[in-house]
């Protein structure tokens, strides 16, 4: 079966972002002060541990950004002769590499809710019995724990499947330990280097990173061992596996957290340093502009913009080939709107910093040498305000991920067909009123979100401490 790669707009921007990040990393490596600052980040155990978790999330997000449409199987009636000439038809369903990896989770749909690891449905159904009577029973699930015999306990089965997972996780962590050990073995030998790492006496906090790698690998191995046979986190109202939904939500969260800043950055940076450097009427106009935008409470501004964007998408259905493209356009538009409403803060910070830099000797000297304004802004001002940009980007990420959930609840978030933490929470919210409570959907959405945001917050803190010059004096 052939596949046709699909490049959604957000995918394109995600890959642009990766290219930018790689470029930025190379620049940072060459530049001694920023290399030193990143080492300061790496010395903090919490930062290294968070970086591991974030990179796992990032890998999932990137895999979910490689989209394709698979070829539809030809109709049986069509003969072999026609087959050669028939045009290749692709499914309208856009899938991603992550979908392909999670194939069993995506297609193993139950009828409705089921508790994690359940073998029976959550709701009772009336079933005709063999003797003609009717009974209210909870029927067996179509896929969850299907392999178990009637009356066979599930715990020994789960335990049997989990036996090897600690060793697999240990192997992953061990392999990483070897790689790091080899890189650090210069002069001391690999065994000594590895002992150093395990004792925690390396400069960078490798030991906590390895511990987190072990824990994550343990979870992944357990998931791989169990998920095809059980609904590890239960199923939701329409019978979708909650683990699948949670993993798919990661991309939406990451896209909103990163692309929003990517879209906003050029404007904020340009307007900020131009206003600060040039002053005069340019400054007045830019200040007026962001004061106006800033005076509108952001939720209302977002609400108004999203409503208008919805009207635009609804009245122009011809713009989009597939539902996925429409949902994607809406996600991107949401990022753009969030970006427009949030660039003012960074712009103001940069303006203030540039006002200070403008009066410094080296800028005066550059001006005396006859450097053009554009050159001064690019070579002398911009590199010296980059730390503010970096800190803001890091701090904004977690706020944006959290905002998405609220916006989706209000009805101005992502497309209803886009799987996101917000839409998961929104769908599960009403079910807390049931008896017994349906808790697993909410718990997984909040759990995954907490992990992502907490890791982002911890890393952002370390980045701020390392890059903010005011914090290093103390």
């Amino acid at each position: 079966m052939g596949v046709k790669p699909v490049l959604l707009l957000t995918d394109l921007l995600v890959f642009t972002l990766i290219v930018c990040a790689v470029f930025f990393a190379i620049q940072a490596r060459r530049h001694a002060p920023s290399r030193e600052a990143w080492r300061r980040v790496g010395r903090q155990p919490a930062a290294m541990a968070s970086a591991v978790i974030l990179s796992v999330f990032a890998i999932i997000g990137v895999m979910d950004s490689l989209h394709y449409r698979s070829q539809l199987p030809l109709e049986q009636s069509e003969s072999a002769a026609v087959e050669k000439t028939a045009p290749v038809v692709y499914s309208t369903e856009v899938l991603s590499v992550l979908d392909a990896l999670l194939m069993p989770l995506r297609v193993q749909m139950e009828k409705t809710y089921s508790v994690p690891f359940a073998r029976e449905s959550f709701q009772r159904e009336t079933v005709e019995q063999a003797d003609g009577g009717q009974a209210r029973i909870t029927p067996r699930l179509a896929y969850g724990a299907r392999h178990l015999q009637e009356g066979e306990p599930s715990l020994p089965d789960i335990a049997r499947r989990l036996v090897w997972t600690p060793f697999q996780a240990l192997a992953v962590a061990g392999a990483l330990l070897c790689v790091v050990g080899i890189k650090r073995s210069r002069g001391v030998g690999i065994v000594a280097a590895m002992r150093h790492i395990l004792a925690g006496c390396t400069e960078l906090a490798w030991r906590p990173a390895l511990i987190v790698v072990f824990l994550v690998a343990l979870l992944v191995a357990a998931g791989v061992a169990l998920a095809p046979h059980y609904h590890v986190l239960g199923t939701d109202k329409v019978g979708q596996d909650v683990l699948y939904l949670s993993l798919k939500s990661i991309r939406t969260g990451l896209v909103i957290g990163t692309l929003t800043t990517l879209i906003m950055l050029p404007f904020a940076v340009m307007f900020g340093i131009v206003a600060g450097y040039l002053g005069g009427w340019v400054d007045d106009v830019i200040q007026y502009f962001y004061t106006v935008l800033n005076s509108i409470p952001s939720v209302l501004l977002i609400a108004a913009s999203v409503l208008m964007m919805q009207v635009m998408i609804d009245t122009h259905p011809q713009w989009f080939d597939t539902a996925a493209e429409r949902a994607d356009a809406r996600l991107l538009a949401l990022c753009a709107i969030l970006g427009i409403t949030s660039w003012t803060g960074l712009c103001r910070l940069l303006r203030g910093e540039t006002l200070k830099l403008r009066e410094l000797d080296y800028v005066q000297a550059a001006r005396a040498f006859g450097a053009s304004t554009a050159q001064i802004l690019r070579r002398h001002i911009l590199p010296n305000v980059m730390h503010i940009v970096l800190i803001t980007v890091a701090l904004d990420f977690s706020i944006l991920v959290l905002t998405e959930a609220v916006l989706s609840y209000v009805g101005i978030g992502v497309d209803p067909f886009t799987i996101s933490f917000g839409s998961m929470i929104n769908a599960a919210r009403a079910e807390l009123a049931r008896e017994p409570v349906v808790w697993w959907s909410l718990a997984s959405a909040f759990g995954f979100m907490l992990t992502l945001v907490l890791a982002a917050n911890l890393l952002a803190d370390a980045v701020r401490d390392a890059f903010d010059p005011r914090r290093q004096i103390r």
């Binding site: 106006v292 935008l293 005076s295 409470p297 939720v299 208008m308 964007m309 009805g411 909040f446 945001v453």
Partner: protein, 325 residues
């Protein structure tokens, strides 16, 4: 002082004009009234006559900025911009989709909104400052470390979790408060304590951590060393000196919180069925009532600008060195 307030109010006029123009462009420029009519009528019923009727009924059948069909000054005033947007300065917002007068509706909903927002605001401030003071008192100890860790965890939890979890635990499992609803008068407290409590807890992590950094900056100053040297207890130094001197950054930070207060109550009001401005906005967003959303954007900006001015005035109250004028 009076001159300062008047000047600040005058400064607010161009900003509000900008907000007004911006929202007008957003609501009428991005999509033409025809598009909106087509969407609200549904694609099936959107014949040209139906669209025209819809526009006439709601007064959308005018040109945007310039009306050549009219005489004299009417050329500029009998337009969509004046009729739909500038008129909001007189707090005349027109009618909602269901025919109710928006201004009247808003007047009735301001009370419940403030009944939630003001106690939340005041109590959050007290709680966060107290917690931050506690952390600063035990600074550089294990308690401080775990306190800050707790703050980071608390600010990493979604606000939706606090609301959903709190409502479920307190109202449903423990049955300590009504699940949702609102009543005026004496009964108000019974309904409002839970949303206020959740609002305070939900915001505690971020603000307490922020106040802690402010206090730590202040505590390394010379005058605190002097205060200790003259025999003041640590608590007295903290509350009498640090708190007073940290008031300016605290007040500045509070301004940042005010729009967030509006956001918070947006979701809070909808979850607890409090008939305030927040739930009104959410209902309007869900039913795509653009008139109401537009009015709320305007009112939100007015409230924000007023609170900015109030903050500046409050500077003079806490710091005699600040002179406005």
């Amino acid at each position: 002082m009076l001159a300062y307030i008047v000047r600040r109010l005058l400064y607010a006029v161009p900003i509000l004009l900008g907000v007004n123009l911006f929202t007008f462009m957003l609501f009428f420029g991005v999509n033409s009234p025809d598009d909106i009519a087509r969407m609200q009528l549904g694609a099936k019923y959107a014949s040209p006559e139906a669209i025209q009727r819809w526009k006439v009924e709601r007064g959308y059948d005018k040109p945007m900025f310039y009306n050549p069909a009219q005489e004299g000054a009417e050329k500029l005033t009998d337009t969509l911009f004046v009729d739909k947007s500038l008129r909001m300065f007189t707090f005349d917002f027109g009618q909602a989709n269901d025919g109710h007068d928006i201004a009247l509706e808003i007047r009735g909903r301001v009370g419940p909104s403030f009944a939630v927002a003001l106690p939340t605001f005041a109590l959050s401030l007290v709680a966060a400052i107290t917690f931050a003071m506690l952390l600063v008192f035990f600074r550089a100890t294990v308690l401080d470390f775990w306190g800050v860790t707790l703050c980071v965890i608390m600010m990493s939890i979604s606000s939706m979790f606090y609301i959903i979890g709190g409502q479920w635990l307190v109202s449903k499992a423990w049955a300590l408060a009504p699940v949702s609803g609102y009543a005026g008068g004496v009964d108000m407290g019974r309904f409002l304590w839970l949303p206020v409590f959740i609002g305070v807890v939900g915001g505690l992590g971020a603000s307490a951590r922020w106040y802690r950094t402010i206090f730590l900056e202040e505590i390394s100053r010379d005058y605190i060393r002097t205060a200790r040297a003259k025999g003041l207890s640590e608590l007295a130094a903290l509350f009498r000196h640090v708190l007073k001197n940290a008031m300016i950054p605290i007040l500045t930070g509070v301004v940042v919180v005010i729009p967030a207060l509006f956001t918070g109550s947006l979701v809070m009001e909808s979850f607890f069925a409090i008939p305030g401005l927040g739930s009104y906005t959410i209902e309007a967003i869900r039913s795509q009532d653009f008139g109401v959303v537009r009015s709320m954007v305007f009112i939100g900006s007015v409230l924000y600008i007023i609170s900015l001015i109030l903050t500046d005035i409050s500077y003079t109250l806490v710091d005699p060195r600040v002179r406005l004028g």
